[in-house]
């Protein structure tokens, strides 16, 4: 299919169409070029592949008993999370303010979650030998 794969999915077409009339906010949308259809397709393939691996390792009893099981699942989940946020939510291409508005509360949320895990004894730091 020849569907303009190489053409970047431009931000909001209206801004481009309005040309000079949209100048005050054009700068903000310059960084708003979206991924191409091909990139979206590959993102979906990668997300599906990671999900398949996650479910696959769940069914390997020998692996689920190892210390690697939980960290590997958390890493795979974090990678999926990051891919969706960066490519589908366009945070990779969007304004820095949006990044700050998302990552700030996300960091607070994650730190709070980890702190609560320590507080309620689900996580512990072993001191000494």
């Amino acid at each position: 299919m020849a569907h303009n794969d190489s053409a970047p999915r431009g931000g909001h077409g209206a801004e481009q169409a309005h040309g000079a009339a949209g100048a005050p906010h054009a700068a903000a949308h310059d960084a708003h070029a979206h991924p191409t259809w091909k990139q979206y397709k590959w993102v979906a393939v990668i997300l599906t592949a990671i999900t398949v691996v996650e479910v696959w390792v769940y069914y390997i009893p020998a692996f689920t008993r190892t210390k690697l099981f939980v960290p590997s699942l958390l890493i795979m989940s974090a990678v999926k999370f990051a891919i969706v946020v960066l490519f589908y939510m366009h945070l990779k291409y969007d304004a820095r303010l949006f990044r700050a508005l998302f990552t700030g509360p996300l960091i607070i949320a994650v730190v709070t979650l980890i702190s609560l895990m320590f507080l309620f004894g689900h996580l512990a730091v072993r001191l000494g030998s």
Partner: protein
């Protein structure tokens, strides 16, 4: 209205958009701030689930069988991973459909010489796909909740039931809101057609939809896969 036409442009935007002095659309700033606050809401719900994990006195349990005398009858582990994996895949594909819907609206005025271009450029098709996949996810969740209740797990059975139904129920409510939101966009598309000038409205709905997806990515791992 300000005295300066230039300032008017910044305040109201060239085509009715709400641009601020940052050059960014105020509605998009608001939706990102809302998503940030939602991160904290879901972190609190996930924390509650994890804190109570493994502390239920009576079954059914998520990953372990429950045998007498702890349970009156022998109970299997209650989580159904194959069904939830399928629903996870459905939600991931709905995110793909959503980005294609947004791209179709943004590029509405571009020429579409081939059939592939026309398919990719159909916002109605991709909005329908997103709605159907979202509704399918809700169908999976309804099936899961119903089967859990039939197997003896309700929101009042034990700590696992309370925290599980609260967390996944809140997520399901968010998906429901998203499906309704997408339905309104579809209605607008059928009524007058979504133009590139409407892309910001689709973008905001898409951000919400993808957020619902990323929350499920976290829930799927933390609740369903980690034993």
């Amino acid at each position: 209205m300000s005295a300066s036409p230039a300032l008017d442009h910044i305040e109201a935007g060239a085509h009715g958009h709400h641009y601020t002095t940052t050059g960014l659309d105020s509605r998009k700033i608001a939706v990102w701030a809302f998503i940030g606050s939602e991160c904290m809401l879901f972190a609190s719900l996930i924390s509650t689930y994890l804190i109570y994990k493994g502390r239920s006195v009576v079954g059914p349990f998520p990953h372990e069988a429950c045998n007498p005398p702890v349970c009156a009858t022998a109970l299997k582990p209650i989580l159904n991973i194959p069904v939830t994996s399928a629903s996870t895949f459905v939600l991931l594909m709905s995110s793909l459909a959503m980005v294609l819907a947004l791209a179709a609206v943004e590029n509405r005025n571009l020429p579409k010489p081939t059939l592939g271009d026309r398919i990719l450029g159909s916002s109605k098709l991709w909005l329908w796909m997103t709605c159907i996949l979202g509704a399918t996810f809700l169908g999976f969740q309804s099936y899961e909740f119903t089967s859990f209740v039939h197997e003896g797990l309700s929101i009042r059975t034990n700590l696992f039931g309370s925290s599980f139904f609260t967390l996944t129920g809140f997520h399901g409510a968010h998906v429901t809101v998203g499906v309704i939101w997408l339905g309104t966009l579809l209605a607008i598309d059928y009524k007058r057609g979504l133009e590139p000038g409407d892309a910001i409205n689709v973008d905001i709905a898409a951000l919400y939809w993808h957020f619902v997806d990323v929350v499920w990515i976290a829930i799927f791992t933390l609740v369903y896969l980690i034993k």
